[in-house]
Symmetry: C2
């Protein structure tokens, strides 16, 4: 069955049956607006991300379930970067009329499974047909106690720079896909099914450990650059200290220039955060508790700008880095 | 200059300069999420709408400033239908690379002007290039005191059905545009630059006058149908009582079948609401105060379903009506 046969109202009424109102949802799918509770004393967090066929994904490289999961994760990652708790999701879809309903069902299954993993509810959205590519527009709402909000502007010279997980895996998988190669399963999973680091973001905020935080969607150089600018500081990053997976290290050994993917490849969806040096001892226990690597990659300076230092202590100033969607 | 030359980060930094954080915005454009205040004791309202080139608008029929205004109004109209106050807007754009920056600037000007009219702030968004049509995805957030929320399910048999403004103007303009004719200025304005009825929605909610309310985006038959279903009631609408503009009446006199556009044309962005009969006397003073027609078009029954009664007292049951985007 094609989307055109199911119909817009058929799709919405099916979705409504799949989504009984979650915690805090007074009115969910099916009214003009969702009506939602935000805990007293908390700030509302909101972020929105587009995923567009041919720009952010290609149908032939992904499966629909994982695309649904990723649509949630890339938004929830932004909530995590503020120290927040994800709560509500909104899904707007522009659907090509020849899309199979089975594909849409698998996408929705993945979306709802990821939402449940992060404790969030689908509370509304919009649908229309698309005369061109499939477009997915997701808005995520969360909340954070007002005193625990972590922005980009609170970093101070001397703070240590940390990143979670490993860098460059997703960009390496994308590079292999673009070259017509099949990435190994670990790398493919990192690209198609990233995890938002909500537990880490929340723990850092609750402990008031992070002075500033961003999620790594555009690559370390670009996203750290945004943090440095917002905080009015500089930074030094030791490239030899970047956390790399075994799969990434194997590829890097054969082609040293791939290090650029860990610096500027993007779509890591790890958290980068800064911590006052006197509190660095609190990080190893937190990493152990979360089962997630937390690696110190450098420190902040009075700046301005970012300096990369390699294993031979050679310094360089990176280009701005990051993916410019309009030029791309 | 084309979008590709301005660049994504150039666009965002320009926008940020145009949008100093509005009331309640702790962090706006430029962090991972916006961080926003919701008044204590109020529920968060959220709605999202897609506007896609070739589906919802055509470049040759519109001007960019009015398209920016309409992108705001269609979302804010949903906030109005819950009795809420609009507060924050999020704008995600997928932009064809050959779009002129002057066009984008005019769109943003219209968007920000409408936001200011409704007392809302642009607080974030996303941008990417589009390999196909221009896509606009707007999310609006508002709030309403928890006890004043007006949904679709509170209507009772015997309640009177009211609509604001006039019906069918936008659909008539669209029909003329599709036929290659130029609609007269009043009709064109109703189609390209609708007004969200925020003052009315808020007043009805604050006075606890409306038992149920929807905004008329899919047409009276479809949207009233949703309200009847949600409330578990039926309805009778007297078609001779539908509020019609002089321009619409002139066209109707020449072609009586155009009445269908007032019943099911869509994009009116008026409010339809139900009022207990003993409180009907409160509506004329409210209409006078707002300078907006409020017309009684029928009443609710124990149902089920909607019955249309014409001037000759002939009854008919309408088709479901409303625009199915997938089939369209």
């Amino acid at each position: 069955m094609k989307i055109a046969q199911l119909g817009e109202f058929g799709f919405i009424s099916r979705l409504r049956r799949q989504c009984p109102p979650g915690p805090g949802v007074r009115l969910g799918i099916g009214d003009d607006c969702a009506a939602l509770e935000i805990p007293p004393g908390e700030l509302l967090l909101t972020t929105t991300d587009l995923l567009l066929e041919q720009v952010h994904f290609r149908r032939e490289w992904t499966d629909w379930h994982r695309l649904g999961r990723k649509s949630v994760a890339v938004n929830v990652s932004d909530i995590a970067a503020m120290g927040g708790t994800p709560r509500y999701l909104f899904l707007a879809l522009a659907l090509p009329a020849d899309l199979e309903v089975t594909a849409l069902d698998a996408f929705i299954d993945g979306f709802l499974a990821a939402a449940a993993d992060y404790g969030a509810s689908l509370a509304g959205g919009d649908t229309c047909r698309s005369p061109g590519p499939l477009l997915i527009s997701v808005t995520a709402e969360g909340s954070v106690p007002a005193g625990e909000l972590v922005g980009r502007s609170g970093a101070r010279p001397g703070d240590a720079i940390y990143v979670s997980g490993t860098l460059g895996d997703s960009a390496l998988a994308l590079r292999q896909l673009l070259a017509g190669e099949a990435p190994e399963a670990f790398l493919a999973e990192r690209h198609h099914n990233p995890s938002a680091r909500t537990g880490l973001g929340r723990a850092l905020a609750a402990a008031r450990l992070a002075t500033a935080m961003v999620d790594l969607s555009d690559g370390l150089v670009a996203d750290l650059g945004h943090l440095l600018t917002a905080s009015g500081v500089g930074g030094r990053v030791a490239t030899a200290s970047l956390p790399l997976s075994p799969a990434f290290r194997a590829a890097l050994a054969a082609e040293p220039a791939l290090l650029e993917l860990a610096l500027a490849g993007g779509e890591d969806y790890e958290l980068l955060f800064t911590v006052p040096p006197e509190r660095a001892a609190e990080l190893p226990p937190l990493a152990a508790q979360l089962g997630l690597a937390l690696t110190r990659v450098g420190e902040l300076t009075s700046g301005p700008g970012l300096v990369l230092v390699d294993a031979q202590r050679q310094e360089r100033t990176p280009g701005r880095g990051g993916f410019d969607h309009f030029a791309g």
